[in-house]
Subunit: 171 residues, 2 copies
Amino acid sequence: MADIRIRPAIAGDTGLILALIRELADYERRAHQVVATEADVREALFGDRPAAEALIGELGGQPVGFALFFHNFSTFLGRRGLYLEDVFVRPDARGRGVGHALLREVARIAADRGCGRLEWVVLDWNEPAIAFYRRLGAEPMSDWTIFRLTGEALARLAENDGQTPGRQAGP
Amino acid sequence: MADIRIRPAIAGDTGLILALIRELADYERRAHQVVATEADVREALFGDRPAAEALIGELGGQPVGFALFFHNFSTFLGRRGLYLEDVFVRPDARGRGVGHALLREVARIAADRGCGRLEWVVLDWNEPAIAFYRRLGAEPMSDWTIFRLTGEALARLAENDGQTPGRQAGP
């Protein structure tokens, strides 16, 4: 077994975590979407009201990956779950079990907190990741599609005057 | 314009919200998945550490729908977002703008709190909902698949002894 250690992130990891977020975005061909700053990450993970939690994966004493997650909530279960926003291991450290150890620790935290589910999303072309998730027993929710409202469209709806689009308003 | 009112849910709405959750599950052909109790909903929405927030939609003074949401977090944006877990309007009250008013209020809350995104999921066969979301300017994230680990598989990973499945462990 390789020398793997999974530990909670500390404030001193902020720069490392932002670097890993950027490497993940690059791997996902979405580097242009990363606008987060070190201050944003510090506030989100270590501020007064944390928005998320993170784990660092080390191999041979060197940080090589991370997992970042927060609580969601299922109305059907009536219980919190955990949502895994990011899990990433640097390419040259893959195949040694760090990703598995990160996911196992997130699953342990979910179980310890009585969470009913652990969920995340994956890009459809990322076949190695999909095969890995299936080996863990995770199931694709293939009949659901995520919708996102952002930028101008979100602002437009927020400022909307109350007219239903594409429908005649009236009693 | 119909007599629509959107208001924050109060503790006295707990039974109503659970009834609406069950009606939504029935509409989604998932009634068998609802195990939440009134105590679960009360704790999640009105307990010491709320897991979610809810709005009630009224038509002519009668409650006819709800929206339930919580914060998520985007590492790429470095900001919180809002995740809309449920939005539902009773069938006999549809087409009057209550769903639009609920989504508009959620969008307003997102904008007020500086959220970068509002996200939710929809079942692929729910074409009226998909058309409605598209009219609002929401975009399907069609290249992503949700993965879920739950029940036995989640417990198994949490209790795992450290062996990577399907891979030879070793230095």
